[in-house]
Symmetry: C2
Subunit: 403 residues, 2 copies
């Protein structure tokens, strides 16, 4: 029998219990053993719940029980998860987590600690929910030099942008609706400001380059400034605005950023809508690949966590090699990166003035919008764009355009 | 040092050498050792080739060399690959192969033999070329009850159908052009008759259900009967014709088939064009996921083979668990499966006669096609459709419609 303890009986935690309950037979066949949920750690009691008898309030009951082989950490947030996970690994228990804050902040260190104790620290569910992406990067795309990862990694913002595009509504209205439907948190900051996507691309980039990429180093811009007018222009250009999390190797430079971007009909992520996530990967041998699915939600996320539990059960006393050392990887300042830029200026400045500053631009018109001008710049370095845009005091908004 | 031997210095074999040569540094970091190509087995000599000194003509040189840890089998075909691989596994060497004929015919047996010898038999490249799909099924989607896999698994036929759609040309013309460009073999039977896709879906279905699915049991229909007229009708319906390889669980039934199908704009594989492959997976917890990329080609396929070499190197003396036993899985006869059917009849039979036989149909018209009628049936069982269609002696073609 393989005993697990689930830390946190919230959405993902109860999903883990449901996945194991529903697919118990085939899971047991795959691990050639019986999987048993021995404890669930939560501050609350759950009277009447089928799992009531397994609820404990004190982590030391779990960590000191030698019969517990695998810890499922789905508490979210760095503490107390970090302390709990370190203790578990030190005591020879493997850990499966969906906690992107924890993995982004301490992934490399926890992988090393797991290795030292011949157990595993697994985190498939921390990026892309139910979409297999961590293990494919770590075990399948290993013969590649990965030169680009671009992902729609946050379901909430993708839902909001899709709705804004479909309904022509403004950000605030769609956010309110999403909150009512439970697609957005009451405090939506982590999603709409891009912090969630930032942690996820930090994790993917670390795995792609084998070193520690600190999420604090990643330029991050959310979607709060995207307006119905921006969406209308995007439609006029037959493009879509998506919150993209990107890492790109250009020569010796490694760029990493999270920001809304305009993408065209030929972009591999153009059809990733609603709460879905999509992750595009480019390797020097493989060329392009794409992974698509449900990037969030109780059961898809729990399915990825349980898959990690199965991997841990299949690798008892064998540490799965993970290419992610604690050595810090420096990112190149995005001032050196190149894009086109879609720009809206409030006043009716003539094209000639604009082109004096930006070079040859493509003017854009959208139905029903007047008293402003909009255009797309040529490809330019971010630092040159910043200098140029600073010359205008009437900037309504600008959005990077994928090239 | 980890020594490998490559069996077959053809397209994929030389790709394996190129991938290892190009990405040697990062590969060595990932295996924490040095990967060395000790032998290449080929009947030919390669004077002047940088690998010339490693060419051997006699397999016994390789199989009897205890320094060889991993065998790369990229010969294709069942024999002599089967004999070579069995010998390698028995002697404690892991095997990485791209050979779908071998895996479909003997996968379960070779996995068992590898386990017995505490080595690995890995075959990521046998399906989907560079797209990670075997390992995701075997290690990531393990908490799922997978109820559907539908794939565009053959790049050649997808290229032909895409070209027929773009140019309005007939099958034979596009095939000839594809052969000239090297996208189709001189003997194209395995691709265009669906045999290649059949072996691939047999492998995926075996992994999804954990038992042996014999490819000989899978109903297989190629694309040779698809005409420019069929494509014209598809366009009129805003649909596309794709060669789909499908496994579907419906209650206790397991259906598996390869055939051209009409799919609509909302189908997850609608944008998989040219030589690209796409694999759609539905699980009971995960809901929908999709994997997309280059399903063939020298470097993408070789990249998947080398990833398996890396896994084998990371798992020396540890057999990775694979959920695929030798127990045979019976498929349900597709007579019990349900579809809609697109039908073309030569004579101008009136709608009332057609509806007497098929029930309520949707008539379809395509510009420039007269002297025939075309319609889409309601959803019906294959066996009822066969009875119905047998009542007409003027059938031009029929194509199943995805529902």
């Amino acid at each position: 029998m393989i005993n697990i303890a689930v830390l946190g009986y919230g959405t993902v935690g109860s999903g883990v219990v449901e996945v194991i309950g529903t697919n118990q037979d085939s899971i047991n066949k795959k691990i050639e053993d019986e999987l048993n949920i021995k404890y669930i750690l939560d501050l609350r009691d759950f009277p009447g719940d089928p799992m009531e008898s397994r609820i404990v309030h004190d982590y030391s009951v779990i960590s000191s029980d030698d019969e517990v082989d695998i810890i499922v950490e789905v508490l979210g947030g760095v503490e107390p998860a970090y302390t709990f996970v370190k203790e578990a690994l030190s005591k020879g228990k493997s850990v499966a987590t969906s906690n992107k804050e924890l993995v982004a902040a301490h992934g490399a260190e926890l992988i090393a600690l797991a290795k030292q104790n011949k157990v595993n620290f697994l985190f498939e569910a921390s990026v892309g929910g139910g979409i297999p992406i961590i293990r494919p990067l770590n075990s399948s795309l290993t013969a590649e030099n990965i030169t680009e990862i671009t992902g729609i990694l946050n379901g909430t913002t993708n839902y909001i942008l899709t709705k804004m595009t479909e309904d022509g509504s403004d950000f605030e209205d769609v956010l309110r609706e999403a909150q009512e439907k439970g697609y957005a948190e009451r405090n939506p900051e982590a999603d709409v400001e891009g912090y969630d996507a930032c942690r996820k691309i930090a994790i993917l980039t670390s795995l792609a380059c084998g070193k520690q990429v600190d999420y604090q180093d990643i330029y991050t811009e959310g979607i709060t400034k995207i307006s119905a007018a921006d969406i209308r222009y995007a439609k006029a250009m037959k493009q879509s605005i998506k919150l993209l999390a990107t890492m790109k190797k250009v020569g010796q430079n490694l760029f990493c950023m999270v920001c809304p971007m305009l993408i065209g009909q030929n972009h591999p992520l153009i059809n990733v809508n609603d709460v879905f996530n999509g992750i595009f990967v480019h390797g020097n041998m493989l060329d392009d690949a794409m992974f698509y699915g449900r990037g969030a939600g109780k059961l898809p996320t729990a399915s990825a966590v349980v898959a990690d539990v199965i991997e841990a059960a299949r690798h008892r006393h064998v540490s799965i090699k993970t290419y992610w050392s604690t050595e810090k990887k420096e990112l190149t300042n995005i001032d050196e990166s190149i894009h086109k830029y879609f720009v809206r200026l409030k006043k009716n400045i003539d094209e000639t003035t604009v082109e004096t500053v930006f070079g040859r631009v493509e003017m854009v018109k959208a139905q029903g919008i007047s008293d402003e001008i909009a255009f797309v710049t040529p490809i330019m370095e971010e630092k040159d764009f910043k200098k140029a845009i600073a010359q205008f005091d009437s900037v309504l908004n600008y959005i990077r355009v994928a090239i």
